[in-house]
């Protein structure tokens, strides 16, 4: 089975984020990027699938700061190939991004496409569904587990999470796109020495400039435009309660009990 994992780097939320002069985007001066956590889970689920059912795992990522290290890390964890897409830095929103990925995917063999269900910097969580729509294949979002082989060739069973702890088990025919919420286990750690070894022997395949034009081709941009970006207002803060008595007093004051 050919598994493709779509990954990207997103602003690291432990940094102090600042809005730039335009008031519509993050200031990039001190911006640090990190792997989108959900994509890391998608990779982990892909690796687990590969380990149990065989196949080849390819990671496709957009060029960004430290993306090479992220891709070498993916190889150290067990990915077979890594592709880096350059020239797509200015692509806006998930519609544009999906078009870039779609262009790459149509040139790659793929049975199962995994990506994070969302990302810290996306506004709609629709990357997976749009890629699926462009490729005209089925898509399941908020997936927590993927199993191969149960229903037979060309099918996978997935667990999809709903609110309130409800889990659905779905059978889906391949090729398909899955938006991963969480892998069966925490993403594994790739030791630095292994990543360094890989760095010396492996290569990152680079695909040049899927370009801004594709975003337009896919339907004229994302349909969204940013009007204003501001830090959330700080609320009045929490009131720390010392014990049950205080809690009861608050509840009584609010008329709850």
């Amino acid at each position: 089975m050919k598994i493709v994992v779509l990954m990207k780097r997103v602003p690291d939320l432990v940094e102090d984020l600042e809005v730039d002069g335009s008031g519509k985007a993050l200031a990039t001066e001190h911006l640090k990027l990190t792997v989108n956590e959900f994509d890391d889970h998608a990779l982990e689920e892909g690796l687990l699938l590969k380990e149990t059912s065989g196949g080849e795992l390819t990671v496709v990522a957009l060029d960004a700061a430290d993306v090479d290290k992220m891709l070498f890390t993916a190889l150290a964890k067990g990915a077979d190939r890594v592709l880096k897409i350059t020239g797509a830095a200015n692509v806006e929103g998930n519609t544009g991004l999906a078009a870039v990925f779609e262009e790459v995917l149509s040139a790659q063999e793929h049975d199962l496409i995994l990506t994070g269900v969302q990302a810290a910097d996306d506004r709609d969580g629709q990357l997976g569904p749009i890629v699926a729509a462009l490729l005209d294949v089925p898509c399941v979002e908020v997936v927590t587990q993927v199993e191969v082989g149960e229903p037979g060739e060309g099918m996978v069973t997935v667990h999809k999470e709903y609110s309130g702890g409800v889990v659905a088990e779905l059978e889906i025919s391949l090729p398909a796109v899955l938006g991963i919420q969480a892998a069966r286990q925490s993403p594994r750690y790739a030791p630095v020495s292994k990543v360094r070894q890989i760095q010396q022997s492996a290569t990152i395949e680079t695909l040049a400039g899927a370009g801004e034009s594709s975003g337009a081709a896919a339907g004229g941009g994302s349909g969204f435009s940013v009007v204003e970006m501001t830090a959330p207002e700080t609320g009045a803060g929490a009131q720390m309660l010392a014990g049950v008595d205080e809690l009861m007093a608050v509840l009584e004051a609010k008329g709850v009990v």
Partner: protein, 678 residues
Amino acid sequence: MLTTAERIVFLILVVVCGGLAFRGFANIVRIVRRGRKAEPREGLLGRFLQAFLDVALQRPVFKTRPLVSVFHAFIFFGFSFYLLVNVNDLLEAYVSGWSMIGRGGVAGVFNLLSDLLSVLVLTGMVALLVRRFLAKPKSLEFNASVKLHPRVVAGGVPRDSLIVGVFILLHVGARWVGTALHLAKEGHGDPWLPTASLLAAGFSGLGEAALETGTHLCWWVAMGLIVLFLPYFPRSKHLHLMVAPVNLALEKRTPRGLLEAPPDAANPGAKELTDLSWPLLLDSYACIMCNRCQDACPAHATGTPLSPAALEINKRYYANEHAASLASGDNTGGAGLLDFAISEDAVWSCTSCYACVRICPVGNAPMFDLIEMRRGLVFDGAAPDEVAEVLRHLDEKGNSFGESARKRPRWAKKLDFKIPDARKQPVEYLWFVGDFASYDPQCQEISRTVARILNSAGIDFGILYETERSAGNDIRRVGEEGLFESLAEQNAAALAECEFEKIFTTDPHTFNALKNEYGPFVDGGPFDVVHYSTLLLDLFTQGRLEAGTQLKARGTYHDPCFLGRYNGGFEAPRGVIRACGLELVEMPRSRENSFCCGAGGGRIWMKDHPDVVERPSENRIREALELGAVDYFVVACPKDLTMYRDAVKSTGSEGQIAVKDIADLVAEAIGLSAAEVN
């Protein structure tokens, strides 16, 4: 003395049993040589002389369990002398007319020693057998969840002890009785053989023939038994009498706080027995299975499945079981260490406190096995989730908190002066702050206190601001060598750009790494690093700090592993405490015997093992409370501050004892007002 027939039978026995024993010994040599390479052991002559002297004085044994050690010394001295006795007895058997009995001079002294030492050996051996089989001390048992080799479960260790014990009793006892029979035969006592003469009186009623048969029988029990015992010897823990001195001589002699890098970076760590370095293989043959290491181990004391003793014992039983295939090297696909030696959760229970290595009487280092196994697990991506997350943070952000690297110096913002930027200006002291002192809110307060103390004393110091990374001490002990190297390279590069005379740090873990492990990363040799306890004491001695107020309180002090046991930093913190006027009361486990707080070796990032009955830090607070009327539990390590403040809360001991950093004491003693401190 022996008949010709007896002489021939004895010789045949020697050849057969000697041959079997030789095969056993040869296998051991071959197995140990199959271990991975270790740092070369230089100065062999000196090492062996030192080891023999230490053994002769029984120094390694007397580190703990004084009474047991006295009995052991009885047996040791007696048995050592018995080498001569055995030679004499062989001569007696094969050289007609050779006998020491009845002679004075040198022979008389020989007789006296053999007589008295025989009694000491018998006394010691009986005492140790009584201890093991009647008193049954708890220290010889393992926690229920400790992984044990099936033969250990089946009682292998006590059986081996019994065999060895009975062998010693028979060997020495028979010789002693034989001498008495000899005296009885001659019909008079010998002033050089006082105890044997006493015993001989009891045999006076026996006839000549009975006495003659008796002496022969005793000779055979004493000497024949040794020969019969030979093939068992390499399989038995009694082997320690030969391997322990060698093991002590070949011990790692580099600083305690310097871990050896894996010999093969592309394939680090130990999965199978022979993936361990040869000194670690030798350890299991030296092991006397005394469980002293387990007694000292904070992980075992608090209920986890880790027993450093069981690890060595299991290694030995496995090696005995598979001696032939291990020796020939065709045990490929043999069982993994995690299958027979130790469980994975036990490997992660170690706090790398060094107590096991320090206490072992035969120079074993079970802690290093654990680190090797961790290296293997980390390399295979099998680190526990909490550890994996911290490693990712350290790789990306350079700190274990997963915090922004830019926020590292933020603690210093609340000071009313600016700490010089060591990257931009020369400083006398470069303060390497470390992760906990930089990011943990409680430790940040101590960091500010230290800054204010130094500022008030007019010390020229600076910090690296956001360029500092974790020093990597515990990363190395978690088994992530590559990440340790990467952090060390980054720090060494940053420090190379700065001008300073000395480095100081409040964090013993950081102190250890910078002092002992950064050598290979720094041009011009290791840094001159001091712990802040040393710096503060120096300032008191030089009169640059003056304790205006003497604190009227009683306090006890906890030696942090990486300052004390690892680096011998026992006096400076005590000096600071006394300089502040505190009355210092020592806990039973202090200095070299200090009990780890449980945070080291990456444990601070991991959840408690479900089997934990009491955390090491709680155990320690209990120890301090048992001293009675102690106001302060004084620490000199940021991790200790958080560990013990938590432990005081979780044991409900608030109001009974307060955890204080030495910097707190100094600030109070030199009269930095509370407002200034915060």
